[in-house]
Amino acid sequence: MSLVHSGDPQVASPLLPESKPVFWNRRRRTILTALGCGLLLVLVLLSPYGLGSEGLSTRLSERNLPPSWIHPFGTDWLGRDMLVRTMHGLSLSLWVGLAAASLSAVMAVVLGSLAASLGGWVDVLITGAVDLFLSLPHLVLLILIAFSLGGGMRGVLAAVALTHWTGLTRLIRAEILQLKSAEYIQLAAKLGHGPLWIARHHFLPHVLPQVIVGLILLFPHTILHEAGLSFIGMGLSPHTPAIGIILSEAMRHLSTGYWWLGVFPGLALLLMVKAFDTLGTNLHGLMDPRTSQE
């Protein structure tokens, strides 16, 4: 055999030379990105308490000021500070989004696990409902529910929550079905454990991370849809400083050259939604064993 050398230099080093651990390795970056996004969102959520509501009051002497150091986002036609309004609006939208997404997630967990664990006609009914909701145009359904409940906070919450549970329900149902047929789950029963013990020790630790990631990835949708509903006047009342209201008001003034009324709140909304998306994607990457080593 040609490759046999008597000296065989590679043999001398039994281990690869230890490479220096990279400080900015992938996992550290991912965790820091996720932490950064989380911090940003908490800041937005709590900003109204820090900024106070002083900027919300009318000051006719400071009407329609372009962005400056005192008013970074400018002021509107009533002299209200747009930065304070935007942060209030974002915070409110975030709360509504959180509530709606959590409601959706609770529905998804209950329906998904019922469908998977009971099977039979319950499963048929729930998967049928999922298909029905998915086949209806999203926006039309949203508007219909909000309208029939008379708009307002209640209408928005119900409309957004009722239109966002489907995807996660499917995911949870499929996950549980797959686990149910796993050998180690069937074996747990033969080792003497009851259904509740198995649910707590086998199913929950498996499904919970997925629910959390699913929930976080729901936020951008619920926030955008809340803003959308308020924008077209089906959502929160015009007196609340919601981001959708701010944007729809800004529309009327855009043509008159007051560009800052729409651009900054719009960008802020985009940034917040993107932060949620990044947070969810990073957490998913960390929790999924297929990608967690990269």
């Binding site: 796993a182 074996l187 033969k190 080792l191 064993p289």
Partner: protein, 201 residues
């Protein structure tokens, strides 16, 4: 005595029978080999004997009584692929503790005799090789409450040396505890080494 009487099984009413009127008996301490080509329902029979599946007709009895449906089953099944039979999100310590009554500590001495190294306890399943995981799966099944063990191709995925090591310790323990074994394999050499009686399906 573990006895299967007139076992018939099919996966759905419109499918043909995969098992028809199968009878077998295993006495305490006996090592029965089950050989047969693939597709003859060896794994299905194993699952019926261990209570994973209910037969369409016939019955499985342990000392004349039906198998208990709750609690630690005195008839345990060990599968071909240990990766599927162990929760990938659990450490080995948790995997082994699952077979014990709540709060009872692991018996490290007994584990060492079954070829389970104490240093594995804090590891994750994916950090162990197939042979090591299969030893964990066997140790989990072989508690003090087991009477019969069904081995469904438990070493078909393993190399010859690991296979011999695993069988040596398993046979020793079965001997001392008078555990009855049903050994399912396509390897007739293996069956003639470990079994004292052979049937064909």
């Amino acid at each position: 005595m573990l006895r299967a009487k007139g076992i018939s099984y099919r996966y759905a009413p419109y499918l043909p029978y995969i098992l028809e009127r199968v009878n077998l008996e295993i006495k305490p301490g006996e090592r029965l080999g089950l050989w047969g080509p693939s597709g003859r329902g060896k794994t299905t029979l194993a699952k019926i004997l261990a209570g994973y599946l209910k037969p369409v007709a016939g019955e499985v009895s342990l000392d004349g009584k039906p198998l208990p449906s709750k609690g630690f089953s005195p008839v345990q099944l060990v599968f071909q692929n240990p990766e599927l039979a162990i929760n990938p999100r659990w450490r080995i310590r948790q995997v082994l503790s699952e077979a014990l009554p709540e709060g009872q500590p692991l018996n490290l001495e007994a584990l060492a005799q079954q070829g389970v190294d104490p240093s594995w306890l804090n590891r994750w399943p994916h950090e162990l090789s197939g042979g090591e995981l299969q030893r964990v799966a066997l140790a989990r099944a072989l508690g003090s409450r087991i009477r019969y063990l069904i081995c469904d191709e438990i070493t078909a995925m393993l190399d010859a040396l690991t296979q011999a090591v695993i069988w040596e310790s398993l046979l020793k323990q079965a001997q001392t505890q008078q555990i009855g074994l049903l050994v399912i394999s396509h390897d007739q050499h293996l069956l003639s080494q470990v079994c004292d009686r052979l049937i064909e399906l």
